[in-house]
Amino acid sequence: MSFLPEFSPLTVVLIPFAGAVLIAFGAGSLRWVKTVSWLTSIVFLASVWGLAGPLLSGQAIEQELWEFLPGMTIGFAIEPLGLLFALLASTLWILATPYAIGYMTHGGYSHLGRFFACYAIALGAAAGIAFSENLLTLFLFYEILSVSTYPLVAHDGSEKSKKGARTYLSLLLLTSICFWLPAMIWVWASTGTMSFTPGGILAGQVTPAAGAVLLVLFMFGTGKAALMPFHRWLPAAMVAPTPVSALLHAVAVVKAGVFVVLKLAIYIFGLDYLKSLATSDVMLYVATFTMLAASLVAMHQDNLKARLAYSTVSQLSYIVVGALLASSLAAIGGGMHMLMHGFGKITLFFCAGAIYLASGKTRVSELDGLARQMPVTMSAFLLGALCVIGLPPLGGLWSKWNLVMGAFDSGQIVVLMAFLVSTLLNIAYLLPPVVRAFLAPPPADAPTGIREAPMACVIPLSLTALGTILLFFGAGLPYGLMESIFR
């Protein structure tokens, strides 16, 4: 891909931040905000793809920025998993940009300058997480991501959203500072390094008991992966405008969480060492429990966004399970599920937002017969739902396939069963909205004149829905990328 620019990782990370600064300076002019948002996301996309070429041809890209205590550096390094995450985030950002512009202007929201500036910062932080060379850099960007999304969640400024945003921020900061930070310091104190190294750095460096405690600290400390009982922030964040829920709470933020889990499993613990730890089974069952329990909760949510949020909690646990199964197949499946679920879930959220914008409806029970008025949106919803469930011909199949294979591979029959039960539950909570919209007759007092949402919203959601199909056929690329880690 020689036609794409090749920037250093730092430049790539800084592009959204620079965009945010520019947006903030011209915050008064809507035209300026829109233009700069577009430009930033395009340049960002091109530069992230530009990094893919050199990496695929086997070139190592590392950049050390600053050593601020001996052995403690801020630095970037590109590796396949991080690249996958960055590609996902940057690709979906460019689709979310028109959606967000359409949604926010048609929805009559104010303070758009602040909104789009924070939106860009969040993406920059996600790229920083993806490219971190060590725990410290990752921690830094992880916290930037938490803080920069607070204004987005609290955007409309009402008491309700401020309360939700407070839950959101305090849970994320609490878990990261109480568990993650001490664990990171512990790693540094006992191994003298914080770099991500293939095969892990902990084996033989800490006692088995210490390793077991570290695993628990890291897993619960990564609050963004939403392991129960630290998942409350995600439903709380649903008070945000839908573009935020879609890009951040279905992709950037939550995927940052599971990305961190995968990264820790592969590059800090190392899969073999992970398997030997006393607590790895415990954490595996916590994740399995989260997967099932969140699905059960999702079934009882009438609010569409809340249902999707609990579904996300459940799907994130698939990836955590994939990391904890400590088999390379499951880890590959986990990495792919990051991608597949990202496309599927953003489609679902886009649809939920489009439905709200066009009809004001927020509940599943109000959707009866809506497909007659909004056929495109509801078809896209169907595709997104099928992708998340994992049926062919949609991308979700391949990630679940690998996850199940991984569970089989490591002999975890309980987990294998849980995957199957969970898929059934997915069907039970994701298909009723579609069934109601397509098959149920509209209520007698249905308001007339509901039409599809504005084009700026419908086109992105159609594109992401098509993306889920493309990923079914193009799954070889992410598979190859993930597989190259273990080669």
Binding site: L69, L174, C178, P182, I185
Partner: protein
Amino acid sequence: MLLTELLPFIMAVPLIGSGFVAVMPGRSLPWALSTLACLFSAIVAAAVLGATLDGTVLSYPFGNWPPPIGIEYRIDAANALVAFLVASMATVALFWAPKSVASEIEARHGTFYALFLLAVAGLLGITLTGDAFNVFVFLEISSLASYGLIAHGKDRRALLAAFRYLIMGTVGATFFLIGIAFLYMLTGTLNMADLAERLPALSDNNAVRAALAFIIVGMGLKLALLPLHLWLPNAYAYAPNFVTIFLAGTATKVALYVMLRFVFTVFGPEYSFAVLPLSTVLMVLALAGMFAGSWVAMFQIHLKRMLAYSSIAQVGYMVLGVSLATMTGVTAAFLHLLNHALIKTALFMALGCVIYRTGSARLDDLRGLGREMPWTLTAFALAGLSIIGVPTTVGFISKWYLILASIESGAWWLVAFLVITSLMALFYIWRVVEAAWFSARPEGAKKFAEAPLALLIPTWFVVILNFYFGLDTRLTVSAAGAAAQALLGAGASLP
């Protein structure tokens, strides 16, 4: 050597200058002369610090009376560091001062700045001298001057706060004096280096033990270590903003230095930590201070009081490092001594800008102010990150070293305390950020303009220093390491 000849002038220039400043008319002239005096002290102190970093000890005998007969100025990295801190913080605070002082003090400023210079000279004298009685003398000079400075506060309650500080400060100084008297009685000398040589022979003597206890309690009072902290919140809250900035950055630090000097150099760590359960006592008090200070800060509505309580907690961090009595622990204490001066100065400066415009430091009056004074409140938020201990700020470096020291001493559980108090700091800073940026301005509230550049520039200067020394730690860490080495002796190795 020229530098040695200049040593006494670090203290003498502000001291003599104060006499001239007192009689000067108007407002800008006294300020200009004070700034020049402090700037001079800061530059010489910087040169002295540079010369002592490698372990050199500079000594200046007053009137050419050789120590221990005469008074000696004896400077190693530890006191050079504190002296530089005092002089430079005084200079930076002075650059911030003119507008704010003009709005708070009506009459001519000559006497006010004269008092300020006296306080600076007193603090510098304490740090530079190698004579125990001299410490007491300068302690009284600086204390009396600060009582006067605090009483200048606009609020009438400043008088009560100053009076309270006067009573408690005098008790502290008296305790300290009793301790020194015991030592003099037993050894017949007041020179610290000489004392250090003679005391080991008296290690069984109960009076020596009593002296150590008196000195620690006396300094604990000036340091605002937890049960002895009662004077601090009101003194900080009602003093003029400029005075608060200066005292928060320097006064308690100097008291800590004196305590360290006596514990480590005069008595020696082997004696101090063996004869009294000093390690346990200091650690318990430090943890209690960290916890209680942060806890109370979380519920303060008056933001100057909030920051004052936060200072009590931060003193706890420094004492915690000392209580570990290891090289890394004392390094961490010195680092935080420096870093906290930067953090608190930045916070009080930003808050001072708010008070300059709105005349209020109440949380409620800050609602929605972020849009009207964005530069000021961004500075506050950034300095707040530093006190929370976010990576890339100096606060993080301090906490990192404290945690490292705890781990080295096998005290893992201390990490939990550090994390919890950081979260409490997050809470009390976040309240301000949320009020300023995410709350609507109350109906009918007056509109305020951004603070004037004369205040903003020094504020942002200190905020940027918070980040600069958070990234480039070579200077601060090596200075703190050298200071710790100077106190603990050559036997200890650098971390």
